[in-house]
Amino acid sequence: MATIIIPTPLRKFTNNTAKLQIAGGTIESSIKELTTNFPDLKRHLLDENGRIRSFVNIFVGDEDIRDLQQEQTLVKDDTVVSIIPAIAGGL
């Protein structure tokens, strides 16, 4: 099982769980599994087209999936996936 790390602001949607085990496969299937198990997460992770929101970063180990194979990036048993909110703003 792979591990997925939930950031603090999204833990209220995962029963305050910070680390979850997922079956693996790809990032797309992992996120689908996550949002199936925790439906309230969906609108915070995915846009109306079902793609990962632009303000959400997904890292596999230390690498952004945008630098890998995006949603098709492989998730193996020993993979640690981190959901990292993009923190930004301004005037």
């Binding site: 603090t8 993009a86 923190i87 703003g89 301004g90 005037l91």
Partner: protein, 145 residues
């Protein structure tokens, strides 16, 4: 309500003044009681990684964000939110603030006018992805101007 303890507020205010006329940004840590009242006991300034126009924008790099999560876990405190400054503008969230905002976090905005702290206010995203103001209790500066 969110209360900013003196030592944390000093770190935040000093960061906002030092960064002026650019925006500063950083993390707030502390605890939350059962009623949802938050107390910020510590703050950690973070590099504003916006590539352009740091007078009007701030960004926190993903690897810097992870420092916040690690700091909270290692120090057994809650990661309560984000602070940033609005140079020469009021402490009211902009559309840029809103679209990137995360649930749960408190967003403290510090208004700095000509390099001097003017006021600060705190905001939390609601279920409709809009900001609600959070009662702000700080000890060093006047609030809610």
């Amino acid at each position: 309500m969110i209360t900013i303890e003196n030592q944390a507020e000093k770190i935040m205010n000093d960061d906002a003044v030092k960064a002026f006329p650019d925006e500063c940004c950083g993390f707030m840590f502390g605890y939350e009681d059962a009623a949802g009242n938050r107390v910020v006991t510590g703050a950690l300034p973070i590099n504003n990684s916006a590539v352009e126009n740091r007078k009007r924008r701030f960004e926190i790099a993903p690897k810097d964000y992870m420092k916040g999560e690690r700091y909270a876990a290692e120090n057994d405190v809650q990661f309560l939110g984000i602070y940033h400054s609005h140079p020469n503008h009021p402490a009211i969230p902009s559309e840029h603030d809103r679209v990137a905002a995360q649930p749960y976090f408190s967003y403290v905005i510090i208004s700095v006018k000509e390099g001097v702290i003017d006021h600060a206010r705190s905001w939390v995203l609601n279920e409709n992805f809009q900001f609600d103001e959070e009662a702000y209790n700080n000890q060093l500066t006047n609030t809610n101007k």
